[in-house]
Symmetry: C2
Subunit: 137 residues, 2 copies
Amino acid sequence: MTIEAVVGASFEHSFRFTQEQVVQFAILTGDDNPLHLDAGYAATTPFKRPIIHGMLGATVFTKVLGTEYPGHGSIYLNQTLDFLRPMFVETDYIAVFTIKALHAEKHIAEITTEIKDATTKKVVTRGVATMINKEKF
Amino acid sequence: MTIEAVVGASFEHSFRFTQEQVVQFAILTGDDNPLHLDAGYAATTPFKRPIIHGMLGATVFTKVLGTEYPGHGSIYLNQTLDFLRPMFVETDYIAVFTIKALHAEKHIAEITTEIKDATTKKVVTRGVATMINKEKF
């Protein structure tokens, strides 16, 4: 896609996760924390039901940044992640990407990355990504 | 395991990734950036060969923090990630976790998280995790 490489430009991506994806992430990474997998254990926590691995939720950032906005050719330099609220399976979320700063001479953009609950609009994960993309920035 | 919950305490975990895991991560997350999957494309980049998704490398942090150090019961509050050097498959890495600060009244620890190449000892990914664990901290 064509990126409007100006500060303030933004891009949105809707997504949701299934419990099957949570299980696959646990197997792939070895992170079998029962908070994500065991409804009985999760019922004893303040969350009451299993929550998605924060790092699985954050993979929406690498997916969108690496394939859509700015897309192929991107190299990840930095990502900050604040896990503000739990994320759940079978729940609609929106990832919002906003160009915060551009360093055109270095082909680098700082992009605010947020995940919002599509229904409540509350931000569940917030961070900033720094990307190089020689074609787009 | 028993954690020595003092500033400066550290824990190491050795690991490596396979190309099969990179493919599984690409399928699971939808991040099919050819930099990670296509040797022909990667040959045209400064890296010369496919590199691991930075976020896949960083999953070693959620795995160890969620299952070993401090382990089950952990809740992730924050993670910063600086992708300093590329990571490759079939390469030995060491993840090093060091307690940087403790806030015992809140059961919170700030933990420096680093991935080093096991051979060259160069740091490839660096960050800080902030975790709650009511039993360990």
